[in-house]
C-alpha cells in the first residue's frame, strides 16, 4: 500500500466524552466489523476499563476506508488512555500519529483534560479535527460548545464537526475529513529501521507484544532487533496489525502502525516510548528521548492474612508483566507483616492496581494511606529520598524537606468558584491564574465556565481532594494536573501510638499546624473502632516527643454469661468457641487486639 494512502490518527477526549463510542462507530462504518459483532466497546477490552469508563491501555486498529474519491485508504486508529494518570502514555501515543480527532461533549463543553490533551497534541504538531459529540442528547448545547472551541482553542466554526457517535449521525463526514486534513506519514522504507513503541502487553504464548509505529525502514518476521534504551535484543516472532483481532502480515513498513511479537518475558524490558532498530546496521539516534514514567504516589500493600504474602508476591509480579509503570519493592511492618511499597502514576492507577489484585487474584488487601516521595537533607549533609513515613528521620536530624508539587487546572461553572477556592486553600493550594472560557452570552444558571490554575503539594491531592472537588461543584468541575518539581516544605511526621506503641502504618507527613487537628481526628477514630480491652489503652498522636492529642479507651468491665445450667452448657461453650475464633482474626498492636476492619477504617481517614 502506498504511504500516501495511509493515515495515522488517534482520538483524544476528556473522560466520558465518547471516545470509545466514536472508535466503535468508525470500526463499524468502515466495515472492519459488523455492528452486531461489536461488543460493548471494542477498544476497551479490560473489564475494569469498561466499568470505569476509561481506557487504560492504548491499542491500535487498522481500518480500510473507500473514500468518496474512489481510493481505498488505510486508517490506523490508535486509542489513547483517557485519564491524567496516564498522560505519559498519551504523549507516546501522539508521537505515533499525524493527527487527532478531538472529541468534546455537547452537554459539557471543554473540560480540564480536553485542554491538557489538546496542548499535548499541539506540542507534537498533530493536526486536530475538533468534533462536538452527543448532539442527540436533550441537554446538549452545541452552539455554546462551538463558541467555546472557537474562543478558547482558536478554531474556525467551519472546522468543527457536529455528531452523535452513538446514533452515527454526522460520523461519515469525519472519515472524509480525516483523509483530507491529516497528512500521510513521512519516512522512508529504504532507510535503516526506526520504530516507536507506544504500548506493550504480555501474552503467555508469544511473550511481550509491542505495539509500534514504524518511522523508517521495515520489519518482517525473523528480523533481529534491538531496543535502544537498554540494548535488549529480540527476534521478531510475528508481525501484524489489528483489525481489531490480530492479523499476521508479512511486514510493516515506514508509516505503518502494527505489532510485533518479541518473545520477551516482561513488559519492563520493552517500555512505552522506546525506539526499536535493527541489530545490525541500525540507527544510532532514537526517535524521541526515552525516560520511563516516574511513579508519583506510593502506598504499602499487604495481605490481611500474613500467610497470603506469597500469593501477593506472585500476583504483583504477574501484574507487572503488563504494567511497567507499577514499581514495587518488599517492605515489612511490625504490625502489617510482609508486603510491598508500591509506586503508582497516580491515585487512579493505585485504585486500578488494588482492584485488579483483589479481583483477578482473589486477595484480601490492606492498603496504607497513599503518600509521595520526599527528599530530605539531613543535618549531616546526607540527602535521602523517602516514600514511607515510617522511614522518616528524627526531627532534629532534618535540615530540609522537599516534596513534589503539581500545577492543577480546574474547569468549573462560575457559581462553584467560591467553594472550590476554599477547598484549594484548605489543601495548601497557591492561586496562580483564573480565566473565563468563551464570551458566550447565554450563560446557564450555574454561570459562565472558568478555568482556575493553582499550584499545590501533590501530598494534598492524595486523600479526599478529588472527591471534595466533585462534591463541592456538584460534579461539574473537572481536573487536570501535572508535576512541576520539588519544593521545600515545612513538614513533620505525626505518629500514632496505641498503648504507647507507635503504629507505623498510621504515621503521616503533614504541616505542623495541622498536627493537632489530624491527630485529634485519628485518635477519635481509633477510640471509636478499637474494642475495649482487659486494660485501659491510651491513644496518642505525637510529633516527635510532643503529644498533640490523647484519648483513653477504658478497660472492659463486663463479659460474662449470666446463666449456665445443664440445659445450655453446649450452647454456651459454642459461644465461647466463637469468641475464641474471633480473637484469631484480630491484628495485634502490642497487647491490643484490633479487628482488621478497624484498622482499615483508620487507614481510610484522610
Amino acid at each position: 500500500m502506498e504511504q500516501a494512502l495511509t493515515r495515522n490518527f488517534c482520538i483524544i477526549a476528556h473522560i466520558d466524552h465518547g471516545k470509545s463510542t466514536l472508535a466503535d462507530r468508525l470500526i463499524e462504518l468502515t466495515g472492519t466489523m459488523r455492528h452486531e459483532d461489536i461488543g460493548e466497546q471494542v477498544m476497551d477490552s479490560m473489564e475494569l476499563e469498561r466499568e470505569r469508563g476509561i481506557t487504560i491501555k492504548a491499542k491500535a486498529v487498522r481500518l480500510h476506508y473507500k473514500a468518496n474519491n474512489g481510493q481505498t485508504y488505510r486508517l490506523n486508529l490508535v486509542d489513547t488512555p483517557g485519564h491524567v494518570d496516564f498522560s505519559y502514555e498519551v504523549s507516546r501515543t501522539l508521537v505515533a500519529c499525524e493527527g487527532a480527532v478531538l472529541v468534546i461533549d455537547a452537554t459539557q463543553g471543554i473540560q480540564a483534560q480536553t485542554l491538557a490533551n489538546t496542548y499535548l497534541a499541539m506540542e507534537n504538531n498533530l493536526v486536530l479535527i475538533p468534533v462536538i459529540n452527543k448532539i442527540d442528547l436533550p441537554g446538549s448545547e452545541p452552539e455554546r460548545v462551538l463558541e467555546e472551541i472557537v474562543s478558547v482553542l482558536g478554531y474556525k466554526a467551519s472546522d468543527v464537526l457536529l455528531m452523535s457517535a452513538k446514533t452515527g449521525q454526522g460520523v461519515p463526514p469525519l472519515l472524509e475529513e480525516i483523509i483530507r486534513r491529516i497528512p500521510p506519514p513521512t519516512g522512508e522504507a529504504t532507510r535503516p529501521l526506526r520504530a516507536l513503541i507506544f504500548d506493550s502487553r504480555y501474552d503467555a504464548y508469544k511473550g511481550v507484544i509491542a505495539y509500534l509505529r514504524v518511522a523508517d525502514g521495515r520489519i518482517a518476521k525473523g528480523d533481529r532487533l534491538r531496543l535502544m534504551s537498554n540494548n535488549t535484543e529480540m527476534e521478531v516472532l510475528e508481525v501484524g496489525y489489528f483489525a481489531p483481532q490480530p492479523c499476521p502480515a508479512t511486514e510493516l513498513t515506514a508509516g505503518d502502525v502494527g505489532y510485533i511479537a518479541t518473545g520477551l518475558k516482561s513488559v519492563v524490558e520493552c517500555r512505552v516510548g522506546d525506539t526499536v532498530t535493527t541489530l545490525q546496521g541500525g540507527v544510532t539516534e532514537p526517535l524521541i528521548g526515552y525516560h520511563p514514567p516516574k511513579p508519583m504516589v506510593f502506598a504499602g500493600i499487604y495481605t490481611t492474612q500474613a500467610e497470603d504474602y506469597k500469593y501477593l508476591r506472585e500476583a504483583i509480579d504477574k501484574l507487572n508483566l503488563n504494567d511497567a509503570s507499577l514499581t514495587y519493592e518488599p517492605e515489612s511492618s511490625p504490625i502489617l507483616g510482609y508486603g510491598f511499597r508500591c509506586g503508582f502514576l497516580g491515585l487512579l492507577h493505585l485504585d486500578i492496581v488494588r482492584e485488579r489484585l483483589e479481583r483477578e487474584f482473589s486477595l484480601s488487601l490492606v492498603v496504607t494511606a497513599p503518600g509521595v516521595t520526599f527528599t530530605i537533607t539531613k543535618t549531616n549533609g546526607q540527602k535521602i529520598t523517602i516514600n514511607n513515613p515510617a522511614a522518616f528521620p528524627e526531627p532534629m536530624e532534618i535540615e530540609k524537606i522537599e516534596e513534589p508539587w503539581v500545577k492543577i487546572s480546574i474547569i468549573t461553572p462560575s457559581s462553584f468558584i467560591g467553594a472550590l477556592m476554599e477547598l484549594l486553600s484548605e489543601s495548601e493550594g497557591v492561586y496562580k491564574y483564573q480565566e473565563y472560557l468563551g464570551q458566550h452570552q447565554s450563560v446557564g444558571e450555574l454561570g459562565q465556565r472558568v478555568r482556575l490554575e493553582y499550584e499545590m503539594p501533590l501530598r494534598c491531592m492524595l486523600t479526599t481532594f478529588y472527591d471534595q472537588m466533585k462534591s463541592r461543584s456538584r460534579g461539574y468541575a473537572s481536573l487536570d494536573y501535572e508535576f512541576t518539581g520539588y519544593r521545600e516544605g515545612k513538614l513533620v511526621k505525626l505518629d500514632v501510638l496505641v498503648n504507647d506503641m507507635p503504629v507505623d502504618a498510621f504515621s503521616r507527613i503533614i504541616p505542623p499546624d495541622k498536627a493537632h487537628d489530624v491527630g485529634k481526628a485519628m485518635v477519635a477514630k481509633l477510640k471509636e473502632v478499637i474494642p475495649r480491652q482487659l486494660f485501659s489503652v491510651p491513644l496518642q498522636a505525637a510529633v516527635g516527643s510532643r503529644i498533640v492529642a490523647r484519648q483513653d479507651i477504658s478497660a472492659r468491665r463486663k463479659d460474662v454469661l449470666a446463666k449456665c445450667y445443664g440445659g445450655d452448657i453446649t450452647r454456651k461453650r459454642k459461644l465461647l468457641e466463637k469468641q475464641k475464633e474471633g480473637k484469631k482474626k484480630m491484628k495485634n498492636i502490642g497487647r491490643v487486639e484490633v479487628p482488621k476492619e478497624a484498622f482499615l477504617e483508620v487507614l481510610k481517614l484522610g
Binding site: 482487659l534 486494660f535 472492659r556 468491665r557 463486663k558 463479659d559 460474662v560 454469661l561 449470666a562 446463666k563 449456665c564 445450667y565 445443664g566 440445659g567 452448657i569 453446649t570 461453650r573 459461644l575 465461647l576 468457641e577 469468641q579 475464641k580 480473637k583
Partner: protein, 314 residues
C-alpha cells in the same frame, strides 16, 4: 401449672424406680401469678421441699418492660403463699441491667429482696438476644441501650450488699445462705453426670451430652413407636473437652477448682497443662491461684468469658 395429681404421680413413679434419699432436694419452679397457697401446700405435702420463684423484679415498670404477666404485688403474694405453705427453702430470680434501669433502682430492688429474706437468690444480668422485641426496640431507638459498665456496677453492688447479709456468692449468678446452695445446680458446675426426663430435657453421662426433642408430638411419637429417636442433640464429650468444661464450669463456682480434684479425675495436672493461660489471666488480675487452688477474682467474675475461652481446646 402442672396439676397436683400429676406431680404426685411423677414423684411416686420415681420412687418406685429409684430409692430417694430422705434429705433429697426436690425443687419446683414457678412464676408469681400462676400459683396460690392451696396449690403450694399440696405440693409441699407431696415432698417438694424447695421452691424457686421467677420474681425477676419488684418494680412494676420493669416487669412490664420484661413482658411479665405478674405485678410486684403478685410477686410478694407468691412469697407469702410459699412461706404460708411451709416452704423454708425459697429461691428468687431477679434480672438487672435493664434498659433505663439506674443503679439506684437496682439498689432498691436488692434491698427489697433482702427484706423478703429468701434462702437463695439468682441474679442475672439481662442478655439481649438478637431479634427479640427488646432488641428491636433498642435498635430502633425506642429504648435506651444497655450500658455494660452500669450492669457491672449493679453486680458489684449486689455482691457487697448480699455478702453483708450473710449470703455466700457460690456461683457467678447465685447466692445462698449457708447450706442452702442449690444441690441440683452444683452438679452442673462440678461437671458430674445428670439425667433429665421429659420433653426437651438434657442429660449428661458416659461421655455424651444429649437432649430430648423440644417437640412434644415427636417426643410422644417415640413412645408409641412412631419415631426411632427422641434425641435432638447427642454430643460426644471427649476427655480433652470434658477437662476443659470441668475447668470452665468449676471456675464459675465461688470456691473455684482444686487441681488435685481434677488430677484424680482426669490424671492431668491443670496447673502445668494450662500454665500459660493461668499465668496470663493471673497477670491480668482475673484469676487467682492459692497453692493448688484456682478461682476467679472479683473482676474476673465479671470478665469470666475472657478467662473461659482461653481454656477451650484447639
Amino acid at each position: 401449672m402442672l396439676p397436683v395429681k400429676d406431680i404426685g404421680d411423677l414423684l411416686s413413679e420415681i420412687s418406685t424406680l429409684y430409692i430417694i434419699d430422705e434429705a433429697a432436694e426436690i425443687t419446683m419452679e414457678a412464676n408469681p401469678g400462676t400459683i396460690d397457697e392451696a396449690y403450694l401446700t399440696a405440693v409441699r405435702k407431696l415432698g417438694v421441699n424447695r421452691l424457686s420463684l421467677g420474681v425477676q423484679s419488684l418494680n412494676d415498670r420493669e416487669l412490664a418492660l420484661l413482658g411479665r404477666i405478674h405485678t410486684a404485688a403478685e410477686a410478694r403474694d407468691a412469697v407469702c403463699f410459699a412461706r404460708g405453705s411451709g416452704f423454708d427453702n425459697l429461691s428468687l430470680d431477679f434480672i438487672y441491667g435493664l434498659p433505663g434501669q439506674t443503679l439506684t433502682d437496682w439498689e432498691h430492688s436488692v434491698d427489697d429482696a433482702l427484706e423478703i429474706a429468701p434462702e437463695h437468690l439468682s441474679l442475672y444480668a439481662l442478655t439481649l438476644e438478637e431479634d427479640t422485641p427488646m432488641w428491636t426496640a433498642i435498635t430502633e431507638g425506642f429504648l435506651p441501650g444497655i450500658d455494660p459498665d452500669i450492669a457491672a456496677d449493679m453486680y458489684e453492688l449486689a455482691e457487697d450488699r448480699l455478702a453483708a447479709h450473710g449470703y455466700s456468692h457460690y456461683e457467678i449468678s447465685n447466692w445462698a445462705l449457708p447450706g442452702r446452695e442449690c444441690r441440683h445446680n452444683l452438679t452442673y458446675w462440678r461437671n458430674l453426670p445428670y439425667i433429665g426426663a421429659g420433653v426437651a430435657a438434657h442429660s449428661c453421662m458416659d461421655g455424651h451430652r444429649f437432649a430430648n426433642t423440644k417437640d412434644l408430638d415427636k417426643y410422644l411419637g417415640y413412645f408409641s413407636g412412631k419415631k426411632s429417636s427422641l434425641l435432638e442433640l447427642d454430643e460426644e464429650i471427649n476427655p480433652e473437652l470434658e477437662l476443659a468444661e470441668s475447668v470452665i464450669l468449676g471456675l464459675r463456682l465461688g470456691e473455684g477448682i482444686n487441681a488435685d480434684d481434677i488430677k484424680s479425675r482426669f490424671g492431668i495436672d491443670i496447673l502445668a497443662h494450662y500454665r500459660r493461660q493461668v499465668e496470663e489471666m493471673a497477670a491480668a488480675g482475673l484469676l487467682e491461684q492459692t497453692d493448688r487452688h484456682l478461682k476467679l477474682t472479683r473482676r474476673g467474675r465479671l470478665l469470666s468469658n475472657e478467662v473461659f475461652w482461653r481454656f477451650l481446646p484447639g
